[in-house]
């Protein structure tokens, strides 16, 4: 393929993957919310409701505040969505189907996720209003507390593969999935993922006690863009969890070329992780910032370090 066709195919793949993933996340929110509230899953409604909500936001007008930083305010959702796309690009779908399975895919993912801090803070600061600003500052206060465990458990997952490439990490799980040989990895990664997408218990910048936080002054298509970007980050996190801990495209053999396996198992595993993440969002209350930071630095980071040391020791002994 020529360079331009390749680029177009890459953008198309990421766009399609994010689009389907965002829709699935929104449908899961409705369905799991219905189960938890006692109204039942109502699958037909759950699948159609995201379209209706998106259409409502599209038809609503944009809000204006006094003297916002208009350029940054408009570009914050685009930045967040772009970072989610970059992070998803590092995750390969199948042995021969990947967008950016670079030799240091873990680093690419971590770098994209670290810049989420910038996008969320800009979204809060640009509105020139109190609650969004407090929301933005809250995110900065806690972001490092979950980016550290994220980096550490991904390094631990990379040790058996002796490579930072996500594709190699998947192939290194052909004997045993990382969720079984590194039991601390997936839970810590999910906590970090909830934090990066500021979802559920870690939904601090857009919290209900700030009347919507960074999103409280936003309406219409801009709010739609922010909601899409947030869910895109969640999808990217779920895809990386599926690849690094649940064996990616590995699974029982399917007839046909090897990329069929990727098209079936990767989405299924990503969907399973999304079910867990969205379910946690409906069942676990929002944390207190102070307590969470203490727990993150006193418990989660030491556990992540233990994870790295133990996996390193096991990898050395296996040699």
């Amino acid at each position: 393929m020529t360079g331009w066709t390749q680029a177009a195919a890459a953008v198309g793949t990421i766009g399609a993957a994010l689009g389907i993933g965002i829709w699935a996340t929104a449908a899961l929110e409705e369905a799991l919310g219905g189960i938890v509230s006692g109204a039942g899953p109502r699958p037909g409604r759950a699948v159609a409701a995201p379209l209706h909500r998106a259409a409502f936001l599209w038809c609503q007008r944009r809000s204006r505040t006094e003297r916002p930083d208009a350029e940054l305010w408009a570009s914050a959702p685009a930045l967040l969505g772009g970072l989610a796309a970059v992070a998803l690009a590092a995750v390969p779908l199948a042995p021969t189907v990947d967008v950016a399975d670079v030799p240091d895919g873990i680093v690419l993912f971590g770098a994209a996720m670290a810049l989420v801090m910038v996008a969320v803070f800009l979204h809060g600061w640009s509105a020139n209003s109190t609650f969004p600003l407090v929301g933005g500052y809250r995110f900065i206060a806690v972001a490092l507390s979950y980016e550290m465990p994220l980096a550490l458990v991904l390094i631990a997952a990379a040790l058996p593969a002796e490579s930072l490439s996500v594709g190699e990490i998947v192939t290194s799980q052909s004997s045993l999935w990382n969720v079984l040989r590194q039991p601390l990895g997936l839970p810590l990664f999910l906590v970090a993922g909830l934090g990066l997408a500021f979802w559920g218990p870690l939904a601090l910048p857009d919290a209900a006690d700030l009347a919507g936080g960074t999103a409280s002054e936003v309406s219409g298509p801009q709010r739609l863009a922010w909601g899409l970007a947030r869910r895109a980050v969640l999808v990217a996190v779920a895809a990386m969890a599926a690849a690094a801990f649940l064996g990616g495209w590995l699974g029982p053999d399917l007839p046909g070329p090897d990329w069929v396996g990727g098209l079936v198992w990767m989405p299924l595993k990503t969907l399973a992780v999304l079910v867990v993440l969205v379910g946690l969002g409906h069942l676990v209350p929002r944390v207190r910032i102070e307590s969470f930071v203490v727990v993150a630095w006193a418990v989660l980071i030491p556990l992540a370090l233990v994870d790295v040391f133990v996996s390193g020791a096991i990898a050395l002994m296996a040699k």
Binding site: S37, A54, V134, D209
Partner: protein, 417 residues
Amino acid sequence: MSGLRDLLSGWAARAPARVFPVVGSGARRAVQDLRLRPGIELVDSPRHADVLLVAGRLPPAWLKPTARVHDQMPGPRAVLCWGADAERELFPMAEALSPEDDAAPAIARVHRALMTGDRESGPPVQPDHPPAPWRGVGPHGQGGRGMTGGRPYGRPMAMREEGRDGLALDRIRVPVGPFFGCFPPGLSLYVGLAGDVIQRVEVDPNPFHAIAESMPAPEWALAATIGEIERARARHHLRWLADALRVAGLVALGSRVLRMAVAEEPPVPEAVRRFGRRLDRFHALGLFGRGAGRIEGRRAETFGGPVARAAGLERDARLDDPAYRALDFAPAIRSDADVRARWRVRLEEAAASLELARRGADREPEGPIEPFTPAWAPDTLSDVLAGLEWGDAVSTIVSLDLDLEADARPVVAEGVA
């Protein structure tokens, strides 16, 4: 192109109506019940809403804030006045409903009409220019002279002040309320925030005093059985829990609890106990309410009721009543005095009330029945909130279960049998 627009507006009409509630006197329960109706979503920010629901009688001090909230709503927008008469002058295009009407179908209808274009978006009710011109000179409106110093021209400005840890941080004084979604209706604060830590709080006086004469008498029966009293108490605590769960980010779980609270058949006590234990397991992790918002000693006594019982004070009017003592009534007491303790006390009381209602359904208490409302103590509230981080402050206020309307209501005659 117009086909696509029709498709989008058709879909938008099928989305739930986003309603921002302005809750006046007598409307709190009815508005809370709307959360259970499909096709309606109550939102916390006027920017997210397309329908403004003005419910109940509003104090005169709220007319300007209501107008401001209306103008903050992006189009398309509409107003529904539910039992609120004076406000119709403010919103000439509003739909009017009487208090007995069911608001949900009207809200859904208005929302559909707005989305399909059958109804015009409401025009702004306030003039769209700032009371004082902005004097900035730079390309982003920065710089210039004459705009700094305290609170110029109605725009709050952060000023450098000695803050926590001896750092000179910016402190900004902002008003919160009276329609803040996490606060009880009527609560309005001026908060001096340094970052997200509250340095000082000034609590505005109870606005419902201005309309106290027109408020209906409380619904308390002068003679009621223990069964009726305890079931009402349990329902009240469950309604409080539904709201508290929503503020904690668990909207779906809050709906479930609200459904339990309004159901014809009250829930089984064991179900409530199990629910309480599950919630407390989260609190026990220390990430949620444990250690937050301590209210002890004299302050807990001022608030009274479950707040006092969560601080270890054994105060319960039912202890003095022989009929309750015959049913082996024991109050729920905790000593931690934090948000977690107040949650536990209320949930245990709800479960215990349901058990008492079963056992003593037809007995009547022998002492006088007085309605209890947590005391409205603005000075104590300011003391309690000072120094708290914003999230803790909100969860503390929610855990107090304040009711400003009940505080303003005229007192029932003493000495009822």
